[in-house]
């Protein structure tokens, strides 16, 4: 097996050998490696196939910007993870990884045929090709695309890992632990500011930590040695928290940031167990220092995507940090000085290399150093083509013309096994723009820079466009002193020597003799977009960068275009003949690197996913076999199946029992608002449509509440407990909103009213007993209470003790039966319920759930707000004009009731429906028409509630129908998938129109 690890470094522990599997084969690396460095040490460059053309692709970078080396980790159904960047994944014993996007395997990939037919896959290919015929989409196109494309596989079972969230507050947050971040953190912490320093890597130091060039020195030491000393210093600072393996995912307004800390991803399987995998930090910082550095740019030329072609500085990091060389015969292609550092590092380790520099000439310390070492440099040359299928084996260079628009002279063929490219550096302005900061364009080296730094956020170091070390340190120190309003002198006498870059030249799309249409100059490696695609998009009329991006999919892969966005912009600007700075950039959206769902949800999974509210009687319902329904956050008994009954049978039995003898419902979830104050009556007058002034103490009244737009908002019964004291009930789901709305009016529109509102929903439990025998049951529970109609009529209220515990009893009915609601302090709710059940035994008192409640009230034509209404129904639409006071001068929504739209006669109105076949039960939500032949069919309305009534022995339904009020007796049609159901419009009240049962 080849070994490309050629020297020892302090970051690789050669005493700790680590075995891992890649594509099923076992390899070895060392502790300290990433998967990428370990693969390169084993001579493996080819790690995947490209997305569209299935071209062989290799490792390009050494960090978060990696477009190609993304892999699938593990194979377990619950733990496998796709799209992990091999350049970021730390190696651990037992790691199993596989390449993605290649079938049957990475070396022989059937999709490679796409490469040969690539002239047929232009920009917008998916939009243009798979559009028609429509019937082909589901059966042909989609399965085909899914089989041959796709980036990795999702786990198919729930994630068993533990994730965590943590909220923290700091005076200063420093993002990035390179040289400028370390200086900033030290200055802040030494000035008594509580400081947090985060870095995505395992160790601090950025790219300076492995810097070993003699021409770059601080205080007479190698910059790396100087920085290691600084790191030792800051670790001693009490005010400073350092979090490595922690990356900022999002920078929101008001300095609220999300960071992901990786806790166990680098540990072997057995050490991961029972530990928190990742923690999401929710950070509020008074001030934020962005020191995120910059990333090297690739260069765009023909066949710039072959395995073995990497970013130049990544070659340097693999060599100087990991001890691994990416080749034995390396060519570096550059437009700036930094590739010379790579060249000198390679040379020192005995790796043969030459430089192709597109600049006409250049002079600096670094270039002199390279020249004196005898490194061959081709100035004013560009790479025009590369060769080699699974790995680069040679390339061609040509001389640039004077204006740089074309190539001249003869092709020179050079052999190599690796090509490093450096197109300059792109400041990582993502954090700055996410925070709302704007950008400026610097023409000199064609970079976007933070435009202005606000009082709570600043960028320092190379993310601010400062590239030379002396510049970085001097400017960071000055800016931080000013930003934090401190006077730190630590770096006053620091002596920095570094090479200065003097010559710049950039060409976004490098010239070539071959026509562009026949080249493959990749701009976005991960999404396979080429320069040709971008030019085609422009030719087809796209102008906005956001449109070009979506049409060509440039920058839209999982790397979000970290390597490609600048080139796309540059090519657009050059082609359209506009200045790059005027184009603007695409939006940098969070997260900066992908986050797992687990990190985002933290502990809020399973039973912690959402709050669950249970009544005090809940355990009884569970013991008695109730099926539950979620109503808002409440768990409500839905029905109580007996002896294997299905829902229909249970509901039929419960409904019949309630009307024939007695039924009991847990009504504790209804919203209850305690209203007190000298203006309580006036307040009710203003919020309900009907009049409240004359409601006697001890009486109850049903009320309908509207929105200011006249539409029904909520309903419920309110009881006058004493002169200035009412108890309002609301719907279960509407309770919180009603309280908020009432508070809003009291605080903002009617602050003069003396009214106090308190939510008492949770304070009382409610057992509602209905049916002809309910009075007898009440009598057993409250033998001293006079239940006669004279003393305790319908719609009235009594207070009575049950074994010394006070109960509030309302004689009100939502079923049409004689009915009592007993309210008791919640802690006694369970006991009350059991006493009711016990007392009701001889009367077959039957517990019923929400479904039976809905059925019983539908028989009586009572509406359920939210089921029979949808925010577009006025009281008149519901045929409830009787509840709207004509006398009251004003109430919420009154004026809207005679807007031109609300008085239209052809509004949808509530009606009853009876099916011609009484056994036929309609589907709720089904559409209603009068004529199925006309096209398009005119839709008149829809079914809102539908049940089979055991008490009437027929199907009943409520519906909203256009002009429904005038349609009684009319035949309508409910068209279903297989048949048309004939119905007749009826009254909304199906049972006991005379209300005789209320006083039975």
């Amino acid at each position: 097996m080849p070994n490309y690890r050629i020297h020892k470094t302090e970051y690789i522990d050669e005493t700790k050998r680590v075995s891992f599997k890649y594509d099923g084969k076992t390899y070895f690396g060392y502790e300290g490696d990433t998967l990428a460095s370990a693969l390169l040490a084993n001579g493996i460059h080819l790690v995947g196939r490209s997305f569209k053309y299935h071209r062989p692709r290799g490792i390009v970078s050494c960090g978060a910007e990696e477009p190609n080396a993304i892999c699938q980790i593990g194979s377990k159904k619950d733990l496998t993870e796709p799209n992990v960047r091999a350049t970021e994944l730390e190696l651990y014993e037992g790691l199993e990884a596989s390449s993605q996007n290649c079938w049957p395997n990475v070396k022989f990939d059937i999709g490679g045929i796409n490469n040969l037919i690539s002239p047929l896959i232009p920009a917008g290919f998916y939009y243009k090709t798979f559009m028609w015929p429509k019937s082909f989409w589901k059966k042909v196109y989609e399965p085909l695309i899914r089989l041959s494309a796709g980036l990795g596989k999702s786990p198919t079972e729930p994630d068993p890992d533990i994730y965590d969230h943590k909220h923290v507050h700091y005076d200063v947050l420093v993002i990035g632990g390179g040289v400028s971040g370390i200086i900033a953190a030290k200055m802040a912490a030494k000035n008594n500011l509580k400081t947090l320093l985060v870095d995505e890597k395992k160790i601090l130091g950025g790219s300076t930590i492995y810097q070993n060039n003699e021409s770059i020195k601080i205080d007479d030491k190698l910059s790396s040695e100087w920085l290691k000393n600084e790191i030792q210093e800051i670790k001693k600072l009490n005010n400073l928290t350092i979090k490595t393996r922690t990356s900022i995912a999002a920078y929101h307004g008001y300095n609220f940031l999300l960071a992901k800390e990786n806790l166990t991803d680098h540990l072997p399987e057995e050490k991961k167990k029972n530990k928190i995998r990742q923690r999401l930090w929710k950070i509020r910082a008074k001030k934020v220092v962005i020191a995120t550095g910059s990333i090297e740019r690739p260069l765009v030329f023909n066949n710039n995507d072959r395995p073995g072609i990497l970013l130049s500085n990544s070659i340097k990091k693999y060599l100087d940090y990991y001890g691994v060389t990416c080749g034995e015969n390396i060519i570096l292609f550059t437009n700036n000085d930094s590739a010379y550092e790579t060249s000198i590092s390679l040379h020192k380790k005995g790796i043969k290399n030459i430089i192709v520099d597109l600049r006409k000439s250049a002079s600096s310390e670094l270039i002199k150093q390279a020249e004196s070492l005898g490194i061959k440099i081709y100035f004013n040359h560009v790479v025009t083509n590369t060769f080699g299928y699974r790995k680069i084996n040679s390339l061609e260079i040509m001389k640039l013309s004077e204006d740089g628009n074309t190539t001249v002279g003869n092709k020179i063929r050079l052999s190599c096994d690796c090509l490093g490219m450096s197109g300059g550096w792109t400041p990582m302005v993502h954090m700055h723009t996410q925070s709302g900061g704007k950008l400026d364009f610097r023409d000199e080296d064609q970079v976007f820079l933070p435009k202005e730094n606000s009082e709570d956020q600043i960028s320092v170091g190379s993310c601010n466009g400062d590239f030379d070390l002396d510049n970085i340190i001097d400017k960071t120190v000055n800016k931080i002193n000013k930003f934090l309003d401190i006077d730190n002198q630590d770096y006053q006498d620091t002596n920095i020597i570094c090479s200065k870059e003097n010559d710049k030249r950039n060409i976004w799309l490098l010239p070539n003799k071959i026509p562009l249409g026949k080249t493959k100059c990749f701009v976005d490696f991960q999404n396979d977009s080429t320069a040709k695609d971008i030019k085609l998009a422009l030719k087809e009329g796209f102008r906005s960068i956001e449109h070009v991006k979506r049409y060509t999919t440039t920058g839209m892969a999982t790397d979000q275009g970290k390597l490609s966005n600048m080139h796309a912009l540059g090519i657009i600007a050059d082609t359209a003949g506009v200045k790059m700075g005027t184009l603007g950039t695409t939006t940098f959206r969070p997260p900066f690197t992908p986050l797992t769902f687990g990190t985002l949800v933290g502990r809020n999974v399973g039973k912690f996913f959402e709050v669950v509210r249970k009544t005090s009687i809940h355990e009884w319902h569970v013991e008695n076999n109730a099926e539950f329904e979620n109503v808002g956050q409440w768990k409500r008994p839905w029905y109580y199946p007996k002896n294997g009954e299905n829902m229909h049978d249970a509901v039929q039995r419960e409904s019949k029992a309630a009307r024939d003898s007695a039924g009991i419902l847990d009504a504790s979830t209804l919203g209850k608002i305690d209203i007190q104050g000298t203006d309580a009556s006036e307040f009710l007058n203003r919020v309900y449509t009907n009049s409240w002034s004359k409601l006697a103490i001890g009486k109850c009244r049903y009320g309908l509440m509207l929105n200011e737009d006249g539409m029904v908002y909520d309903d419920g019964v309110t009881t006058r407990i004493s002169e200035n004291h009412y108890l309002m009930t609301t719907t279960t789901g509407g309770a919180a909103n009603v309280l908020s709305k009432l508070e809003d009016y009291l605080q903002t529109e009617w602050p003069e009213l003396d009214v106090y509102l308190t939510s008492v929903t949770d304070h009382y439990s409610t057992a509602s007993i209905c049916g002809p025998n309910s009075k007898k049951i009440l009598n057993k529970l409250f033998p001293n209470l006079d239940l006669s109609d004279e003393n305790f009529p319908h719609m009235s209220f009594k207070e009575e003790k049950l074994e010394n515990i006070n109960c509030r009893i309302m004689r009100i009915s939502f079923t049409g039966e004689l009915s009592y609601e007993i309210n008791i302090e919640s802690k006694y709710g369970h006991s009350l319920w059991k006493m009711c059940i016990e007392a009701g035994k001889e009367f077959n008192l039957t517990p019923y759930g929400t479904e039976t409640m809905h059925l019983l009230r539908a028989e009586k034509g009572f509406i359920i707000v939210g089921q029979d209404t949808d925010g577009t129904m006025t009281p008149s639409d519901l045929q409830m004009d009787w509840i709207v006071s004509k006398k009251k001068y004003d109430f919420i929504g009154k004026r809207s009731l005679y807007r031109s739209d609300t008085i239209r006669e052809d509004r949808k109105q509530l009606v009853g429906l009876l099916t011609d076949d009484p056994k036929e039960i309609l589907e709720e939500g089904a559409q209603i028409v009068s004529d199925v032949k006309s096209k398009p069919i005119d839709m008149l309305g829809h079914v809102t509630s539908s049940y089979f009534s055991p008490n009437l022995n027929k199907s009943i339904a409520l519906a909203v129908v256009r002009s429904g009020k005038t349609m009684k007796g009319q035949k309508l049609i409910i068209p279903m998938e297989n048949k048309n159901i004939n119905v007749t419009v009826s009254d909304t009240i199906f049972l006991d129109k005379e209300n005789e049962r209320l006083n039975a």
Binding site: G253, F256, E749, P751, D890, R895, S896, S900
Partner: protein
């Protein structure tokens, strides 16, 4: 995620609050006197401007008080907060 300085409780995270739209839209004292157009103006029409906007916020998961906020919608900076019934700060008009 804003930090909002509730005039009753002090600085709290945005997640404790809910927004109530444009401020200083007074409910007409005599709605029945208004034409459809005038009522619609009160009911539906909101400015929703880019720039300095006066809006209502409620400290829903706190003191439950409504108050007013002056916010620059172009950068989300909250320039001022003041209680219901207090005069809006003049310098932002």
């Amino acid at each position: 995620m804003f930090l909002i300085n509730c005039p009753f409780c002090g600085e709290r995270d945005q997640s404790e609050f809910s927004s109530g739209g444009e401020a200083h839209i007074v409910r007409p004292k005599q709605p029945t006197e208004l034409s459809d157009d005038e009522w619609a103006e009160y009911l539906f029409m909101r400015k929703n401007i880019k720039g300095v906007q006066f809006e209502r916020w409620n400290h829903t998961h706190g003191c439950r008080k409504w108050f007013n906020v002056v916010r620059d919608t172009s950068n989300d900076k909250i320039l001022s907060v003041y209680k219901m019934g207090e005069k809006p700060p003049e310098n932002y008009k």
